[in-house]
Amino acid sequence: MSSQSPFIKTRKPGERIFCLLMVMGSVYLFWQSYAISGFSSFSSPGAFPLAASATMVLASCVTFLNTLKLPAAENVRFVYHCFPPIVAVIMALILIYSVVLESLGFVLSSFAFLFVSIQFLYRRSVLTTLTISLLALIVVYIIFRLIFQVVLPEGIVPEREILSSIKSLWS
């Protein structure tokens, strides 16, 4: 929240479209709220969603009308200032990571994600990135899987067998 400027004097590229989408979304949600129980009574299950979505419609309309009045910000382009390639690439990486998380398992998919994203953002030699991502993964694994006992998707790596064989080495 601290990254926002308190007073918006100009509008950013895409702001009008976003606000218009909000208006349309609010209207759709209002219609869906109406579908719950109509205008039957003030205490019906749909009454509160109706009130909330009506507020959204009103507030988004006010916001949209206000952005119409604002002049466009100069020298600000959507591709560079609002949705730079770096954000798009990272979003895509996160998406791929979430898709393969369950099938590949936590260890493999997380390692791949860390390696690719750190290499992309930090830009050092492959060996450095490899070490960093491996170390980070080990720390995360120990803290969350072993100490916090969080259940993580196993995927194709037979984690439990490996863990139990390590344990049996000690005993």
């Binding site: 929240m1 601290s2 990254s3 926002q4 400027s5 308190p6 007073f7 918006i8 895409g14 702001e15 606000c19 909000m22 609010s26 949600l29 709220s33 719950i36 129980s37 009574s41 003030f42 205490s43 299950p45 009454a47 509160f48 969603p49 009130a51 909330a52 979505s53 507020t55 959204m56 507030a59 988004s60 006010v62 206000n66 609002c82 770096i86 954000v87 990272i90 996160i94 998406l95 979430s98 998380l101 369950e102 936590f106 997380s110 994600f113 860390l114 994203s117 750190i118 953002l121 930090y122 960093i132 980070a136 995360v140 969350f144 916090f148 006992q149 969080v150 259940v151 993580l152 998707p153």
Partner: protein
């Protein structure tokens, strides 16, 4: 006697003691590293700790909260980058002090005064909460409903930008909270025939998306900020300094508690108000404000830590969060089966005293960690964003998965993360969304109770509202906020101010 027993619980058990220490330590770093926020950390922690015993989870999260509020001051002093919004005022005089080579002294003094503020907040919480909660039992359903709306509106209007955007965000949150089976009639709401939606959208997934993913995506815009190193001298502050500034620190602590206790206002506003207060009461500062006045450093620091104790008062006694962090905290309490509200102190007084004891302990750890480990600190804060941001994404995704071991929660989290990114981009605050999600069922149920008790007549509800002084006050405040943010009022104000200046 019982109270004392529960108060000391976390002090006597080595595990709880250790977790509080760990939480505080983590909190200081989370607060200090720009790009990591306490809200983000607590959201992610909820998902990892919800299977734990409630006491363990609370120890860790209370520590993170207390440490995080303090931690922001470190980077504000050393780098002129407030690590957290509550440290914005700290940077005003803290950074000039560091530039003069007094970074160590500034850190030491701010640590001690933060701890003083923290204690004032805790004492007020311990004394005031039982009284507030007794008063809160007399609240009518309509009062709760209005308190909920008021909280959302205040967060919406104070988080910068326009009230319309804040209200939009809050209403959206309320709506997200209603998804699923209606708790009163079990009718489906916004489920679109999908059985998975019957349980609703997990609030933790929304929180991690809005505060973890969207915040980290925004950090990608500022990847190339260079870090300036500072030399750090002695950290333990002079006794004469502490004695000299104690009265001011106590005054600003009380400002902090009061501001923190109001719904919608948290540590950041408390700190700015305290800074302003210090400016007014310090007649002849040794160094002018803004150029390294120690008064300007300690006032916000004492106030923002005092605000923590203050924020706990409405949270534990009314179940109403004051800001985004406390909203996330209430989410955590709900998940652990606790019901923050006026009955908490009656039904589970041990939880209250346990929390008070825990906050006290965390505050002591702030003092210990604050005055040590500076070398390690400067190493960790220099951790490049290129490594830090991928780790945030990793923890967010794993955290979302860990709530229910369901991939669906990851999709929700990602959707809200991307949506939150665009909301932030176009000046919509995300805090009210979380507040709305948390307050949704409370507001919904109390609205229906209120209207049912008037036999469904909205005019009776409106008329009877004015029979109770409390309801009248709440209603007037809501109307007042709406009015003062309307264009009519601003136009009038502008004209008046314009006339005064000319």
């Amino acid at each position: 006697m019982d109270a004392l027993h529960y108060f000391a619980m976390s002090w006597l058990s080595p595990e709880l003691l250790g977790l509080t220490a760990l939480g505080t330590f983590l909190g200081i770093y989370v607060g200090a590293i720009p790009g990591l926020s306490v809200t983000m950390a607590v959201s992610i922690l909820i998902s990892f700790t919800f299977a734990w015993d409630v006491n363990y989870a609370l120890c860790l999260m209370v520590g993170v909260y207390m440490g995080g509020v303090y931690g922001g001051s470190r980077t504000a002093i050393l780098l002129n980058i407030p690590g957290a919004p509550s440290a914005i005022a700290t940077a005003l005089d803290g950074y000039p002090l560091a530039k003069k080579g007094l970074a160590g002294e500034a850190i030491g003094l701010s640590t001690v005064m933060s701890v003083v503020g923290g204690f004032v907040g805790i004492i007020v919480l311990a004394l005031a909460a039982p009284t507030v909660s007794e008063f809160a039992i007399t609240f009518q359903p309509r009062d709760y409903m209005m308190l909920g709306i008021l909280g959302i509106m205040l967060v919406g209007s104070l988080s910068g930008g326009s009230l319309a955007r804040g209200i939009f965000a809050g209403a959206l949150g309320l709506l997200i909270g209603t998804v699923g089976l209606d708790p009163m009639t079990a009718e489906e709401r916004f489920t679109f025939g999908v059985v998975e939606l019957w349980d609703g959208i997990n609030p933790v997934a929304v929180m991690i998306g809005m505060f973890g993913i969207s915040e980290a995506l925004h950090q990608l815009h500022h990847m190339n900020k260079a870090v300036i190193k500072q030399k750090i001298s002695r950290v333990i502050p002079k006794w004469s300094d502490i004695k000299k500034y104690m009265p001011l620190s106590l005054q600003t602590s009380f400002i902090g508690v009061i501001v923190g206790a109001l719904p919608g206002t948290g540590g950041d506003i408390a700190a700015l108000m305290a800074y302003d207060h210090a400016k007014r009461v310090t007649k002849n500062p040794k160094v002018p404000f803004g150029e390294g006045a120690k008064e300007g450093l300690i006032a916000p620091e004492a106030a923002n830590n005092a605000a923590v104790g203050g924020a706990y008062i409405p949270m534990l006694t009314l179940g109403i969060p004051g800001d985004a962090v406390t909203a996330v905290f209430i989410g955590a309490l709900f998940i652990h089966g606790l019901n923050p509200g006026p009955l908490l102190l009656i039904e589970q007084p041990h939880m209250f005293w346990f929390t008070v004891g825990n906050l006290t302990l965390a505050n002591i750890f702030v003092l210990i960690f604050g005055l040590t480990g500076i070398k390690l600190f400067s190493k960790i804060v220099e951790c490049p964003k290129g490594i830090l941001i991928p780790l945030i994404f990793l923890l967010s995704i794993v955290g979302a998965y860990a709530i229910n071991n369901a991939i669906t929660d990851i999709w929700w989290m990602l959707a809200f993360g991307v949506f939150g990114y665009f909301m932030r981009l176009y000046g919509f605050p995300v805090g009210p969304v979380i507040l709305g999600v948390i307050l949704s069922s409370l507001t919904d149920e109390n609205w229906r109770r209120a209207i049912l008790s008037e036999r469904g007549s909205i005019s009776d509800l409106f008329i009877n509202l004015f029979h109770s002084p409390l309801s009248t006050v709440l209603f007037s405040v809501i109307v007042l906020i709406l009015f003062t943010q309307s264009p009519l009022w601003t136009r009038w104000l502008k004209r008046k101010l314009f006339h005064e200046t000319t």
